[in-house]
């Protein structure tokens, strides 16, 4: 099956089979492209059954497909090699069930994350992803498909850790569910883990069930300035072993000349947060500069009954002031004990190639993001990535594990993308290809988007 079967309808006309399967199908417009690859059709199924019929029809026509939620992260990963049909989840926008007493929620893939947050907050609960991710847009489906996480990764993990049930439609149109509505559940294989972070290459996610946490009554962030990579790494060790149980240990290093900031997030009820903040201040001592505010950070003293919302408002304001996803973002995952070497490797590779990178992320969880500005020369960025990967692979020397750090280019301008290996080497690539072969034997789901050449 190629990008068009012989005798296919001319572009602009929706094939009858698609129209019969799905109520909302149209020819693609100028804006309907995925990472610059234009689509031919756009369909928006309103239910899992309708999505099933749609995908079955698409399979019959041999069409390639790419799921799209809000499009918030459609430029992540490689552009698809082909994109006949965009499957838009906009009509899959219902919160199916919010069992507050059981702390679980089931939502369709197209539910926007900010809307979900609001529904949950009404019962004083939240999906413990964020705070940035839940606020800056995107849908439930996109969240799972990219497994996007930020600061709270340290305490709560990534979406795959909070996902307890999933409904998907396979490339051949078959509907499948795994997991369920209860947190403790080991019946059968966990397809949710497989689909989390799979970038739409295994099938279309139509519904997901998550475990929730109570919304903390108060939140407080403390900034601790460090002079260099070694002292930052030492401070991370101190904090991670401190008894204050932080929700996040983030690092922010806007440029090599700027100081390194560690941002510690504490959540809980008001008294607990204040007590722990005081203990943390005593622990980090002179490193903590009173009143100092790192660039763009927020340090709140809890005042009102629901400061969590205030945090979100401020975050939204902060985010509006800078364009989303500019430049090249490289995500580095590493063993936390190697933090100093990782920071040195990033800055070293950047300096070698004349790029000014900003580093930010969860130092405590071992995931940092290095951002090269959009103005950087594409070849320089490509070389930076290559040099960085070489430096990171050296960190694993002497360990039983083949590698203790990896670098993935999450998104980049087209000129950079064209000369860069976005995903880099993957462990067990052949197994991943075997999995892909089983779920999507014709390779029509988001072809070429993913790691391992998938």
């Amino acid at each position: 099956m190629g990008t068009g079967t012989p005798g296919a309808t001319p572009s602009g006309t929706v094939p009858a089979e698609l129209a019969a399967a799905c109520a909302d199908v149209r020819a693609a417009g100028h804006a309907d492209q995925i990472a610059g690859v234009p689509a031919r059709y756009v369909a928006a199924p309103g239910s899992t059954d309708e999505a099933s019929a749609l995908l079955r029809a698409a399979a019959g026509l041999g069409l390639t497909l790419v799921p799209r939620g809000s499009g918030r992260r459609q430029h992540w990963g490689n552009p698809p090699t082909s994109c006949d049909l965009i499957v838009d989840t906009g009509r899959l926008d219902k919160v199916v069930e919010h069992a507050a007493g059981d702390l679980i929620v089931t939502a369709q893939a197209g539910v926007p994350l900010p809307d979900l947050s609001q529904v949950l907050a009404a019962a004083r609960q939240h999906l413990a992803i964020g705070p940035r991710t839940m606020v800056e847009g995107g849908t439930v489906g996109g969240l799972v498909a990219t497994n996007a996480a930020d600061s709270w990764r340290y305490r709560y993990g990534a979406p795959r850790d909070l996902l307890i049930g999933i409904t998907v439609v396979r490339a051949d149109g078959v509907i499948a569910r795994s997991g369920g509505k209860v947190v403790k559940n080991v019946a059968g294989y966990d397809l949710g883990k497989l689909f989390a972070g799979s970038y739409g290459t295994l099938g279309l996610i139509t519904e997901a069930t998550f475990r929730l946490h109570p919304l903390p009554g108060a939140a407080l962030g403390l900034g601790v300035q460090q002079k260099d990579a070694e002292s930052a790494a030492a401070m991370v060790q101190t904090i991670q072993y401190s008894p204050v149980a932080p929700s996040s240990i983030d690092l922010r290093w806007p440029s090599p000349a700027a100081p390194i900031w560690l941002l510690v997030g504490l959540e809980g009820d008001r008294e607990s947060v204040l007590t722990r903040a005081a203990r943390l201040r005593a622990l980090v001592g002179p490193a903590l500069l009173p009143g100092a505010q790192p660039d763009g950070a927020n340090v709140h003293e809890p005042e009102s009954a629901a400061p969590a919302h205030r945090t979100e408002d401020q975050l939204r304001a902060d985010l509006q002031s800078r364009a989303l996803d500019e430049g090249t973002l490289v995500r580095v995952a590493f063993w936390v004990g190697r933090l100093a070497q990782v920071l040195t490797a990033i800055q070293g590779a950047a300096a070698t190639n004349g790029i000014d990178v900003a580093i930010e992320g969860s130092a405590g969880a071992g995931v940092l993001e290095a951002r090269a500005p959009a103005s950087s020369a594409p070849m320089a960025v490509a070389a930076f990535v290559t040099d960085l990967r070489a430096a990171l692979s050296g960190l694993g020397a002497g360990s039983v594990v083949p590698g203790v750090a990896s670098a993935v280019v999450v998104y980049a301008p087209d000129e950079v993308r064209n000369v860069t290996d976005m995903w880099g080497p993957v462990p067990s690539r052949d197994l991943m290809r075997a999995v892909k072969d089983q779920f999507d034997p014709e390779h029509r789901m988001a072809p070429g988007r993913f790691a391992g050449g998938i």
Binding site: S82, A99, G101, D102, G157, A158, R160, D161, V168, R170, A176, R177, S178, K181, V182, K184, N185, V186, A187, Y189, D190, L191, L194, G197, H213, Q240, P243, A245, D269, S272, T275, R276, A333, W335, V336, G337, A365, G366, V401, P402, G403, V404, A405, S406, N418, D421, V426, P427, S428, L431, M432, R433, V435, K436, P441, E442, P447, F450, A451, G453
Partner: protein, 513 residues
């Protein structure tokens, strides 16, 4: 093979077996040549052929299902495991991996026509990296010994099944084991960040890299909980958790289960997330007393064990809140452990409950159903009504915080018909769980024991889709076959399709699949 086994054509003994046939095509069988090969790979000491010795491996913790393995091998290195599996793959000989043999779903039930690969000699803790909060361990290491080794660094390994003194980390990975503290701290899949595995064709490969954010599909997450059907784990990178500053363990006694359940709801509803919250009913308490003399409060219809952990101030505040709630719900005695010894004593009663039940009943069935926590009360009422109707006693031990029930269905196998009634009651309890939107297994796994319930919980399409994963790893169906899925999927040929190459592929920078 001794004559006591009746062998079905699927290589599993039919004694107490419930899973239907799974015949391996073109299987060569365990013969003298194969045994010689195994001896060369491991050593004569590590290959067991004596029929009586083989039979000691016929079951794990689930004694209702027994099957004598064709051969037992005890490798000591990952390379040996890979060589064994390669030899099995070449001859299409089925193999089953076994850790400590304490599983409760028959996941390590051997094949009479296959090899049992026992991992208990691979029991080193290879490395601990406190700065990264990681440890690399071999699969035969016991769960508790990981925490013991990590203790000096101020760390512990959070998933703590009740059998943690003996159950192996490899087994924990296979079953995605939970334990009392998984409510707050998560289960095995949340604490495994990398796996070295031997795939069913004998390749040694790493899944993940220990960071928990390696690129590509989350094969670590998919493999964990796959019950030994996708390969054999040879090294595990676990996440270690800082030991909380303070721990309080409370034991609260109520006169009725209902009161205890209400207390649980109130505690969770107040926003507190305890480290653990467990409940036992009068019958389970009776067994535990007989076994370990735990001296729980007299006359309790239910006891609640609540453990709160975290920073000292938080724990103090939460302890006060929990005490208040329990008292409000009618607790007539609340004890707090004053030191580590008292804490251990409170837990000993709970952790030995399953095995202890053997003292108050000749035989029993352990179930592992899950219901939404809000449905706990009505489900427990229903179980007690069913018990009264059938005359079969049920002792209840469970993880109250997450609705994971462990009804212990007690019966006397010498009384005619009682075993059948007990099995029927067990099945009805699982039906109840499914009815309420729960699960047939919260932590013990499906194994052979519950595969017949899978179609009640999942559609044929669901099961078929799950098995696509199995086909990717084990197309010939030799890796722990006959477990989890009642009907194996024929994997067949998979067509591959090629398209116009991506520019990077064309330029040779990357290859595309």
């Amino acid at each position: 093979m001794d004559g006591n086994d009746v062998i079905g054509n699927d290589g599993l003994s039919t004694v107490g077996r419930s899973a239907p046939a799974s015949v391996i095509r073109d299987a060569a069988g365990v013969d003298a040549a194969f045994t010689a090969m195994m001896t060369e790979i491991c050593s004569p000491d590590s290959v067991i052929t004596d029929p009586q010795e083989l039979r000691t491996y016929e079951c794990d913790g689930l004694t209702a299902h027994r099957s004598t393995p064709g051969l037992v091998v005890l490798p000591q290195t990952a390379e040996q495991v890979a060589a064994i599996v390669r030899a099995c793959a070449a001859r299409r000989i089925p193999f089953v991996a076994r850790g400590s043999g304490t599983g409760l779903s028959g996941g390590a039930l051997p094949r009479t026509d296959g090899v049992l690969i026992v991992m208990s000699k691979m029991r080193s803790i290879i490395a601990i990296d406190p700065a990264s909060r990681r440890a690399i361990v071999e699969p035969g290491v016991t769960n508790l010994s990981v925490s013991k080794a990590a203790e000096q660094h101020g760390l512990f390994y959070a998933p703590d099944p009740s059998s943690q003194v003996v159950c192996s980390v490899g087994g924990n990975v296979a079953e995605n084991s939970g334990g009392a503290h998984c409510l707050k701290h998560g289960f095995t899949v949340h604490h495994v960040t990398g796996l070295q595995v031997v795939t069913p064709d004998g390749e040694l490969t790493w899944l993940g890299d220990g960071t928990g954010a390696a690129p590509g599909y989350d094969l670590v997450g998919a493999f964990t909980g796959s019950e030994g059907t996708l390969g054999i784990v040879t090294k595990i990178i676990v996440k270690l958790t800082p030991i909380p500053e303070a721990v309080t363990t409370l034991l609260a006694a109520f006169t009725t289960m209902g009161a205890g359940g209400a207390a649980v709801s109130a505690i969770i509803g107040s926003g507190i997330l305890p480290g653990a919250i467990e409940m036992m009913d009068a019958l389970a308490i009776e067994a535990a007393e007989a076994a370990v003399n735990c001296r729980y409060p007299e006359g309790a219809g239910a006891v609640l064990i609540v453990e709160l952990d975290g920073p000292t101030g938080d724990v103090e505040a939460q302890t006060a809140a929990v005490r208040e709630i329990c008292t409000a719900e009618g607790a007539y005695e609340i004890r707090a452990a004053q030191d580590a010894a008292e804490r251990a004593a409170i837990w000993t009663g709970r952790k030995s409950a399953f095995a202890a039940v053997g003292r108050i009943s000749p035989a029993y069935i352990v179930q592992d159903g899950v219901v939404p926590r809000t449905a706990l009360e009505s489900v427990l009422d229903r179980i007690s009504a069913l018990s009264a109707e059938t005359g079969i006693r049920v002792a209840n031990v469970f993880h109250a915080g997450d609705g994971n029930l462990h009804p212990l269905v007690l019966f006397d196998d010498r009384r005619p018909g009682e075993q059948e009634r007990a099995e029927q009651l067990s099945g009805t309890i699982l039906d109840l769980c499914i009815e309420h939107g729960g699960s047939i297994t919260g932590e013990h796994g499906v194994g052979v024991d519950k595969s017949r319930y899978m179609p009640k919980m999942f559609s044929a399409a669901d099961l078929d889709t799950m098995q696509l994963l199995r086909c990717a790893f084990d197309p010939h169906g030799i890796c722990n076959p006959g477990k989890v899925f009642p009907t194996p999927r024929l994997c067949g040929e998979v067509p591959g399709v090629r398209r116009a190459p991506h520019p990077l592929v064309a330029s040779g920078l990357i290859d595309q699949f």
